[in-house]
Symmetry: none
Subunit: 191 residues, 4 copies
DNA sequence: TATGAATGAGGTTTCATTCAT
DNA sequence: AATGAATGAAACCTCATTCAT
């Protein structure tokens, strides 16, 4: 009898959407995309299976929404760093900034790595991450070129891979991984 | 009919087992563990579903067998390298040897990385890879210590992570990845 | 605010009801009763799902309302033709009148034929169409009896079936169906 | 331990397939394609849902198999009639033959008519029935042309539609429908 | 050892209908 | 009268595994 106002509905939608995204990220991250059922997401989020589909029309779309939302947070943080690295200090700041981003949402990056190696997810990656990663690499490439590196592209690729490896290790091992020490070493080697 | 001798039977059994392992590795590597059905393995291997279970009592056991077999090949190859690295040359040889091993069975290492990030597979990893990886790290740790590195454990961890990242990149991108150049750069930085 | 008068409310209600009926007829006709969701009707009509149920308490009731409304239009048109056919001219006029009715609402008659063969819909048909069809047949039966036909009931049944078949063909094939030629031939044979 | 022989397996497959086809035809015919669940088919046939899919990979494929199998029976019967109708006797024999075919499998033809009006089924019809129906019409067209009919195509279309209507009436009303009398009348009018 | 028919739980998704932070 | 979030049963289909007229 008392219909909800439009504002109330928007509020509900926003909160539930957020709840679903968070819950699904958690579960996808923990059990993998295929290892997580829509059932389990709905149960964990405390909503019905049917309602889940009122928010995301398929499991795949839900995954995509999670990835995009996380990337938005990521790019927002990265945008606060300078686009050009001129000093070793800039370089160090950029690297440490990246790590801070990673640490701020380890669940998300676990999901990222768990999808990275699954061919079915490749189209998603092409669409969502590649454009971003290329820009990201370019900044470092310029840095190395300015430093007189003869193969700046190769160095930036090595740096990217190294960061991947370090992040992966940290995500897998948690606080057992000596992240700070390793980072210092990394910065020393690349700066 | 001429009954097969026991030896022949064993031979047949070994070949079938090998066939199943190879086929399953291929499919697990391509579609992921959960994304591959026992049905598809049996079809691809030209073996009946029932018979598959005569060789491996469950999907999980099959996976474990694959991982172990691959690791055996790996250790055999690694054992041919010296246990102690004394010169920069030794170091370079070891790294390049590792890469050769990786390149000799990219399918296997794709599977490795696709499982690495899945918690359900953690027990398997603990059981199968950890003992080996620790030994592997120790060799490099000694090398760095001998070179006067103050934190040889950290450096070897960074090296390990870097190799992980490089391998991951190479496995994902294939020949697009400038593996040789990147490796040269890596060796230069760590040796 | 100026409250709506009761009359205005009734007017609005009537219009919405009409809108729903038209939309649902269109969709049922195009996708079948089971192939059409209440969701799709509400969306297509630009009405909320909840409100749909304020007008029709269930999908089945909605269908029934559609069928009845169409039949009312039908009978209104038919009532404008004479109840007794005395000449061949009357006969021809009656047939052509029928066709005109059909052509005036092909969507409705498509739905009619799509329900005709579904047993679940039989009760509806018994209730809604049978009384009408019987009267409809009687008129032709009298015509044939007056012409001296020994089995006027049989002839009128054949005529009814023939019209069914012709209509069905026309509804399925659209303008590809040579309706006019076929009708001429039909009239020639039966008159 | 005692594996079934290949022959036994073939036998099982053939029987089960037949059982499924028969059961599904019955249910599709009675409740419509959309109104019948795979669950209900499996239950009615006394087999598990999973096994159903060992025989037919989808509901749609099952439907197609049913339609094709019925059509094969149909064409076999029709092939026993002459391809060219020269006398009124031939014509009558052909018509009555058709009716016999229809009566031999009313369940099938009920399904036929229930699908005829559903747009989703149109591709199936195009594929399965159209080629056959066209040939079927041609035979009658020739007959009418030979008789001196100026518009043999129109007449054969009217005949086709009339048969459709008569069959539909018979299928809906069952033995209440005076099929024999109607047929006599039909033959009288068209021969 | 080898086959493939069979099972049943569980996966994703749809849908008529109800109800109100 | 009007909204759309919410429910839960049921739809189609897949899959690891078992078993044998």
């Amino acid at each position: 009898m008392s219909p909800r106002t439009e504002k109330q509905n928007l509020e509900i939608r926003k909160q539930k959407e957020e709840l679903i995204l968070t819950t699904a990220l958690e579960l996808f991250s923990q059990y993998g995309y295929l290892g997580t059922s829509m059932q389990s997401i709905s149960k964990e989020a405390g909503i019905s299976k049917g309602n889940l589909y009122n928010y995301f029309e398929s499991k795949e779309v839900l995954l995509e929404a999670i990835l995009i939302q996380g990337l938005i947070q990521f790019t927002e943080l990265l945008d606060s760093y300078p686009k050009e690295l001129v000093s070793e200090n800039d370089f160090e700041t950029a690297i440490r900034g990246n790590v801070r981003v990673l640490k701020s949402n380890t669940t998300y990056w676990k999901l990222y790595f768990s999808l990275l190696t699954q061919p079915q997810a490749q189209p998603l990656f092409q669409k969502i991450f590649n454009p971003f990663l290329e820009e990201y690499m370019t900044v470092f490439e310029s840095y190395f070129r300015n430093k007189g590196d003869e193969k700046p592209q190769v160095t930036s690729m090595l740096l990217g891979s190294t960061l991947d490896g370090v992040f992966l290790g940290y995500l897998m091992m948690g606080e057992q991984y000596p992240l700070d020490d390793v980072l210092n070493n990394l910065i020393e080697k690349f700066k």
